[in-house]
Subunit: 364 residues, 2 copies
């Protein structure tokens, strides 16, 4: 493993840490960040951990105009004994490179990024909250920072890793949400950027979310952009249905983001010998299953919430109440198992967890 | 007209102006920029013209992560007598508000924005090149600058107008380009953001452009994302076909950007009594017309190039050579008329031009 040296400049002052009891998502950030620069011909260089500080960009920076930017999201957990756990971070770095390629941006060295992340977390380990349900959210991202108004890939980029202590997604445990099936707006289409974790996919979803919110729904269920028949994602999460004992989730098709929680759930279900399928799922099929009393559970999956059960699905005014608007047993079991593995309360039979105890000691 | 006061802070130093003979597109910027801030509950405020300077943003600024950003592009021309001309700037501000709304961003006051633009151009008028084919490119844009990692519309934004002197798009007059019909990648789909001028649409097009470039084509022809049959845009321009004496362009359908040059050409053709239609156009129709010897001209239209003739269209290996790879008479006539109106060499029967001579005098 070739590791470029990381320059470290520690902050002269330390911010006050937020109260873990009242932590929200994505509002407070730690004292330091990792960053690196890219220039055509020179590659990635100047790896450094520096005090968390504003970014200075020319107003003509390509990221503002043509959206060359990709990101990732993962979490670190800390046990009372001081062990820090990361959940499949190598999967995030791998996916980041797929996203970078789709956006014509230079790939990062995945090992280097993981090393930088580990080093940053070592420095910020006191920022990882330990209260049940809390964690340290990690946001790696790359932006094009060349000042140029031409529509072409930039020749200069900056890579960042920032950290944010976050609270439990569900203050009082997981509870089902109401979802509106989206018929007007489309998140992504085959041939577009839906499979990449890039800004434009999220910007395009805001309007639908706003309209759904006005109607009392917390998120939308995205349908495919071509036939408007097949289920794609829910909000910014992947989606699973339990129908007549079988678990189904939309197959990766180019417009769906391949979630790491999604992938882990597929492995878990397989491990448990629960029948599971990745395939196309139409809204007609969902409705038929519902009418036949066979639609047992629906839940979204993602890093922020882990599992988000769906209690109501509204399709053009036809309301399907799932599992009596209660969290289903499979959603509960998946949530408990995944979060227990993530926090070290349960054994990890898949080698998903990277424990930073030794790594931190070594780096100290 | 209610005009909020604009604070003006002039730069202590002036940059050297680029040589108009060697000007390129979007690389140099003037001494000053206009900017304003938005905060929920407070609205747009702090309108100011300040020295052109870097933007300082929190690394968690929403624009980097979720792509809330929209922009516009237009040009100012200066005659030897000092008259400054703007081409339909009110159309840009109107479209910017449509884009802002699609992205759940706060609308700007269009009159205010036009006033700010005029004021900024007054200060920077010596930056407007006068050499044939040169102009001052104007880039208004709005970015979400709130530091928050939640997927939700920001509560804070910043509006900018920056100016860039640009050279003739075609150094030796207009000449036809080779275009590849894109079958794999999709720019935008109905229900998405294709009708808005927002970063994500441009980011998604880079990959196709890169692949086309490797094959010797300067741009791609985008097809609809649903059936992959109907023509949408060419690169980041609208597209026109002259078939058997009639001019046709794809009708606005939600995934095509409604270009201001496109709109002006439709008016011009109508004024000239040339048959013109806005409707769906399939690649099959284009091929049939070509085989029947009726495909007379193809050209793209946009602010940067005004008119960009297509000399070759490659559809899955089937190469259509248009007008013997020469610029067609209609493309030439449209280019000459539009640029003559824009630069004041020809009368403007449509009231498209805003002359800033008097306005500048009044503001002085």
């Amino acid at each position: 493993m070739k590791i470029s040296p990381i320059q470290i400049k520690l902050s002269d002052s330390r911010k006050e840490k937020p109260n873990p009891e009242t932590l929200v998502f994505g509002r407070s950030f730690t004292d330091h960040m990792f960053t690196a620069d890219y220039e055509e011909g020179k590659g990635w260089h100047s790896y450094r951990i520096v005090p968390y500080a504003p970014v200075t960009l020319d107003p003509a920076a390509i990221v503002f105009h043509y959206g060359q930017t990709v990101f990732e999201g993962l979490k670190a957990y800390r046990s009372p004994d001081g062990t820090v756990r990361l959940f499949r971070p190598e999967e995030n770095m791998k996916r980041m490179n797929l996203s970078l390629d789709r956006l014509c941006m230079p790939k990062i060295d995945e090992e280097m990024a993981l090393h930088a992340l580990t080093k940053l977390i070592q420095i910020e380990k006191d920022w990882i909250p330990t209260l049940n349900g809390t964690s340290l959210y990690i946001r790696p991202f790359v932006i094009a920072n060349e000042a140029f108004l031409g529509v072409a890939p930039a020749k200069k980029y900056q890579f960042f890793i920032i950290l944010s202590p976050v609270g439990a997604y569900y203050k009082e445990g997981i509870h089902p949400v109401k979802i509106l099936v989206e018929n007007e707006f489309v998140r992504a289409v085959k041939g577009g950027t839906g499979g990449a974790k890039t800004a434009g996919n999220y910007a395009s979803g805001l309007k639908a979310q706003e309209v759904a919110g006005q109607r009392g729904y917390s998120q939308v269920l995205w349908l495919d952009g071509i036939e408007r028949k097949y289920v794609e994602e829910v909000g910014s999460m992947n989606i699973f249905f339990k129908i007549d004992g079988e678990v189904v989730t939309p197959a990766i098709n180019g417009s769906i983001l391949e979630g790491i929680t999604r992938k882990s759930i597929l492995q878990l279900l397989d491990y448990w010998n629960i029948p599971v399928a990745e395939r196309k799922i139409s809204m007609d099929e969902i409705r038929e299953a519902y009418e036949a009393g066979k639609l047992e559970e629906i839940f979204g999956t993602g890093t922020a919430a882990v599992i988000s059960p769906v209690g109501e699905l509204n399709w053009d005014g036809y309301k399907m109440i799932v599992n009596g608007s209660e969290t289903g047993p499979l959603a509960k079991q998946l949530f408990d198992t995944l979060t227990n593995i993530q926090t070290g309360k349960e054994e990890d039979p898949f080698n998903w967890i990277i424990e930073l105890k030794n790594e931190l000691a070594k780096l100290a």
